[in-house]
Amino acid sequence: MKARIQVEVSPVWGVINETKSKIKGLMLEDGASQGMADFTEIVVSELLENAIKYGYENNFLPYVSVKFDLTDTSVTVKVSNGIREDDNLDGFKKIMQKIETTENKESLYIERLMEIMENPDAKGSQFGLYRIVSECGFNLSFTAENHVLEVIAIRNF
């Protein structure tokens, strides 16, 4: 299997469906399993949703960048967007720190579900990153420099 896509998209909701459908279609054409294609669709969608909801267009990155790379041994999704130093970025870093320092990722997911059960009306599910590591089995990392956030999701086969 070998497929690669790099696209630069406007930060509008409509691009999510188009981008994830393109990547999923490519994976299935290339022989990936339905399950892996479904999980990758979730990852692309969650990362793009975050980029559109919480990112900012700035002079350093005036669009959202999506890079997808499928090989025989792994699938990688990288999503980059412009950022500001604000509460959204702080919240993101806290969640990522929790993910990095917790061995049992599923426990984070269940914990978040319990919180939602306690308070289902709280704004923002803040759930997508946990979903990527727990449900979809991808590893997550990020870089935040020069006003640009890049989130990297990788799953080895």
Binding site: W13, S45, E46, K53, L113, E135
Partner: protein, 118 residues
Amino acid sequence: MDNFKVEDLEIKISGTGSDFQMKWSGRSESRNPGEILNPYLDGLMKSLSGKKLTVDYCSLEYMNSSTVPPIIRFVKNCDTNNIETTINYKKDSEWQSASFKPLQTVCTLLKKVKVIGI
């Protein structure tokens, strides 16, 4: 009780007497699904109170993470309103199993709701 259809997500409700079925199909991927799902699902509570309800997610093709809070709010309301609720998901679907098994764990806290892979 009315059905629901917004964008690519459809919810059909059927049944009579004390037994009702709710079938979700399509895709839930709007920016804020709670805005449209919560009023609809809340509106069903009065009619379903004290009844039996089977919620079928097997035909749901995709949901984003923002769809999870409205679903949890709904199952919690079912429990509070004494609605004996069975939630079915497609266990052969990897994404559905991954999404609904954790819900199964959380729903063990509720008295009236069970989640089953079929």
